[in-house]
């Protein structure tokens, strides 16, 4: 038999001014199962809490209802008190008599009546409460970092330096990501590779970091603290242990006409290749799609010339299973290419290039050794037009967002061009110049004032070729909106930053959500910007949204610290408000009929297929749903969804919710 205690708080005058608290307490005392009811000035005060604790002991209470402020305010406080009193904290419920009664209604019969109703409702609920205990989940203190760009590198190093094991997976043959392609970086104009390559080497040599390049995540299962991840190590066709990276293979390779990804297609590479001189690891892989051995079955030059016999054409993809406690997703971004722009020639004009291509032209290690030359004829352009917001902030192009980095790198590009060709002319078409950031606006001003880059506020409507020149038609919205035309030798489009081609499938593998542009979604836009909705999976860098280097790096460190927090104890505890699928004696085992339609409903993929097996024969006796308490966040959508009520939500059970409703309406209960 339930023995419920009811404690009505005056909250000074806050409640008692409009609610007849004595009456509420008296009425509560009459309710069946209520063994003790009292009202007091300040329930949350020490004496107030002591009263509760004493009452629980003295009257052997099996549950308590505190009629006071909102549970969002003091539920924790009173649950602690309940615990001190010797009952399970989840046997304490609050009736919200302040925020939702006394503060919103005038003193009246009705107001007091409402208070009584709410108390009656909570008494019914607490009668149905059952003891709950926080869920403890063991944590594997190894982190997986997906992506070896600057964000991934930063996160990996931070976690590794904190003394935890890190496994890094990079799909390219080398780590370094887009940053390794950049020439110089704003706002300091220091060379990208000079600051990046040391970190790349650090990753390769760090005792706590295991690096898998030319590898991709195949599948992710499990839950926070206990992920099971399958990684595909793509066949490199080169034995990394034997290879010394001498380079005789790629020097001799006959297939020399393959567009070089690292140089954004502005030069060629061989079929067996290391993406760039400072690659980590600095050992080649064979690009099978372009290798005559794999395509035509003949050649084998690299095998012949390799002094250590490291070439292995028979090598196959390998799938390895790893167990990690947390995952940092740093899969980076891509940019729109010039073929995305009909009005700028559908990518058919050779000298209309995108930002990354310009980076390579301007880079000392690039195809032109840092001399800015036209891809079409290798001439040094006398006039370059830069088009900012190419695709970005353009609804018609399906990209409403700002790509954030373009204003800055366009200024940088114009500057670098001017530094390299003093009498060259640089024009920038822009919508707005967004240069918020430390020393950012100063940087843009420098481009305008010191390097006299011509900024034209307006859009470019069309580019066409006419006798060897690119005619750029636009409008200057400041010079009394005159349409203008510039005969340029080269045009650089600051094309929109977009999510990777495979972002969607990656997100689906990880069970994390993503926005309509396939950028990964953070758990909360303001308060949980580096976590995802799947506990234990963090975000770093431009896979979440367009970011420049400082932003990517700071988010990476933030993600790393989230991981370290998770790794700070051997076990993590979670609220016991989770869904459970009922269990009963064989042969029924559970009322769940295993339709598994609920699996689709769960936002956290916490519902799994369970096969109940015969202990001896091992044959399947029943298929049912099972809720993974590690993943469940307790929304209860599955509960309302389950047709025959086989799933229930602890703390908000069907029994409780229904009796709340009945208690509320049928009076006297």
């Amino acid at each position: 038999m339930a023995r419920i205690g009811v404690f009505i708080c005056h909250c000074g005058e806050n409640i008692s001014a409009t609610v007849d608290v004595e009456k509420v307490a008296q009425e509560a005392a009459k309710l069946s199962g209520v063994a003790f009811a009292i009202d007091y000035k300040y329930m949350c005060s020490d004496p107030g809490q002591t009263q509760i604790i004493e009452a629980i002991k003295e009257h052997k209470l099996t549950g308590i209802v505190v009629g006071a402020c909102s549970p969002r305010m003091h539920e924790a406080t009173f649950r602690k008190a309940a615990e001190k009193g010797g009952i399970n904290p989840y046997l304490c419920e609050m009736a919200n008599l302040r925020e939702q009664v006394s503060w919103v209604h005038a003193r009246s019969e009705a107001t007091t009546a409402k208070a009584i109703d709410i108390v009656r409702m909570m008494v019914q609920k607490v009668k149905q409460d059952s003891k709950l205990f926080p869920i403890k989940v063991p944590v594997i203190k190894t982190a997986l970092v997906i992506g070896g760009g600057i964000a991934g590198i930063q996160a990996a190093l931070d976690i590794a330096n904190a003394g935890h094991k890190v496994i890094m997976v990079e799909k390219a043959p080398s780590i370094g990501g887009h940053m390794s392609q950049l020439s110089e970086t704003f706002p300091t104009l220091d060379c990208s590779q000079c600051i990046l390559t040391p970190r790349m080497v650090e990753v390769a040599q760090h005792p706590n970091i295991t690096l898998h390049t030319f590898a991709e995540v195949e599948s992710v299962s499990g839950y926070v603290g206990n992920f099971d991840v399958q990684v595909r190590l793509k066949a490199k066709s080169v034995d990394m242990k034997l290879c010394t990276g001498c380079g005789s293979c790629w020097q001799k390779c006959p297939n020399k006409k393959i567009p070089d990804e690292f140089n954004a297609g502005l030069s060629f590479r061989t079929a067996i290749y290391t993406p760039f001189p400072q690659a980590v690891p600095n050992k080649p892989v064979i690009d099978r799609a372009n290798c005559s051995w794999f395509q035509k079955g003949k050649c084998g030059v690299c095998k012949k010339v390799c002094p250590v016999g490291a070439i292995n054409y028979e090598m196959e993809d390998e799938i390895i299973d790893i167990k990690v406690g947390a995952i940092v997703t740093a899969t980076g971004f891509d940019i729109k290419h010039t073929d995305f722009f009909p009005e700028y020639g559908y990518g058919e004009f050779k000298d209309v290039i995108d930002g990354l291509q310009f980076e390579r032209l301007a880079s000392a290690s690039g195809p032109t050794n840092g001399e800015i030359r036209r891809p079409s004829d290798g001439k040094i352009p006398e006039k370059i037009v830069f088009v900012a917001c190419a695709g970005s902030r353009d609804k018609a192009k399906g990209i409403e967002y700002c790509s954030k980095i373009c204003c800055m790198y366009t200024a940088k590009h114009a500057m670098m061009y001017k530094h390299k060709n003093h009498d060259g002319e640089a024009y920038v078409f822009y919508m707005d110049v967004r240069s918020a950031g430390k020393n950012y606006d100063e940087f843009v001003r420098r481009a305008v004032e010191e390097d006299d880059v011509q900024y034209i506020r307006g859009r470019v409507s069309r580019i066409y070729e006419k006798n060897g020149k690119l005619i750029v038609k636009g409008v200057d919205t400041l010079m009394n909106a005159e349409p203008i035309e510039i005969e340029a030798d080269m045009v650089v489009l600051a094309t929109a930053v977009v999510a990777n081609q495979d972002a969607e499938s990656v997100a689906q593998k990880m069970h994390i959500s993503y926005d309509k542009h396939h950028f990964f979604a953070e758990a909360h836009p303001k308060l949980r910007p580096v976590e995802t909705n799947t506990a234990g999976i963090m975000l770093a860098g431009a896979c979440q949204t367009a970011k420049d280097i400082p932003d990517a790096v700071s988010q990476a460190s933030a993600a790393a610290s989230k991981v370290m927090g998770l790794f700070s104890s051997d076990e993590m505890t979670r609220e016991p408000v989770v869904a459970v699928v009922n269990r009963m004696m064989p042969p029924q085992f559970t009322t769940c009929t295993g339709c598994l339609l609920c699996m689709e409903v769960c936002p956290y993929h916490a519902i799994e297929r369970e096969e109940i097996l015969d202990r001896r024969t091992g044959e399947i006796l029943k298929v049912a749903a099972r809720v993974n308490a590690g993943l469940c966040q307790g929304c209860g959508t599955c509960v309302a969804f389950c047709r025959n009520k086989s799933i229930d939500l602890q703390g908000y059970t069907n029994q409780q919710m229904l009796s709340e409703v009945i208690a509320l309406l049928n009076k006297p209960f």
């Binding site: 909102s70 549970p71 969002r72 919200n96 302040r98 925020e99 939702q100 009664v101 503060w103 919103v104 209604h105 005038a106 009246s108 009705a110 107001t111 009546a113 409402k114 109703d117 709410i118 409702m121 959500s513 979604a521 909705n533 408000v577 409903v601 936002p603 956290y604 966040q633 307790g634 929304c635 209860g636 959508t637 509960v639 309302a640 969804f641 939500l649 908000y652 069907n654 919710m657 229904l658 709340e660 409703v661 009945i662 509320l664 309406l665 049928n666």
Partner: protein
């Protein structure tokens, strides 16, 4: 019916509307005392049967409210709920239930005022409609009689 005071039950989610109702309190926004709030973790948790039960047990009107689309604390609970309501409404409408007695709404944690206005508005409409008797009178033999006449014709 002048002195009729409707009983209105509100099923709300913990993160948006319940917090919104709290905000109405902290900002001392007054509204009709006819509403009784039942707190759920998420609109996704609200079982359509609870609506039936509320009406059977004498509710005159029901409010269902949660986070605005895309604001759901659990990312998609409210989207699933929305489909459930679309379906349930069309069923109720088909069997001739007065669906105007059910009000669906999105009230965010910041919309204390919207909450207060919603409650007042619903209270007034329901007050105008009068008490809900269609279900409570169902089991009375009158209807049975009517039905037997019908088939014995």
């Amino acid at each position: 019916m002048p002195d009729f005071e409707p009983k209105i039950v509100a099923f709300v989610c913990n993160w948006c509307t319940y917090a919104g109702a709290d905000l109405a309190g902290t900002s001392r926004t007054k509204y009709a005392p006819n509403v009784r709030i039942v707190r759920f973790p998420c609109t996704g948790r609200i079982d359509f049967m609870l609506l039936m039960k509320a009406f059977e047990n004498g509710a005159d009107g029901v409010i269902i409210s949660g986070c605005h689309p895309n604001d759901c604390h659990y990312t998609s609970g409210n989207f699933h709920a929305r489909r459930r309501w679309i379906t349930f409404r069309s069923l109720l409408d088909f069997i001739g239930f007065d669906i105007d007695r059910i009000t669906f709404s999105w009230v965010s944690a910041a919309e204390g005022r919207k909450w207060a206005e919603l409650v007042d508005e619903v209270t007034n409409t329901i007050r105008a409609k009068g008490p809900f008797t269609e279900i409570s009178t169902l089991d009375s033999s009158k209807l049975k009689q009517l039905f037997y006449d019908e088939i014995t014709k």
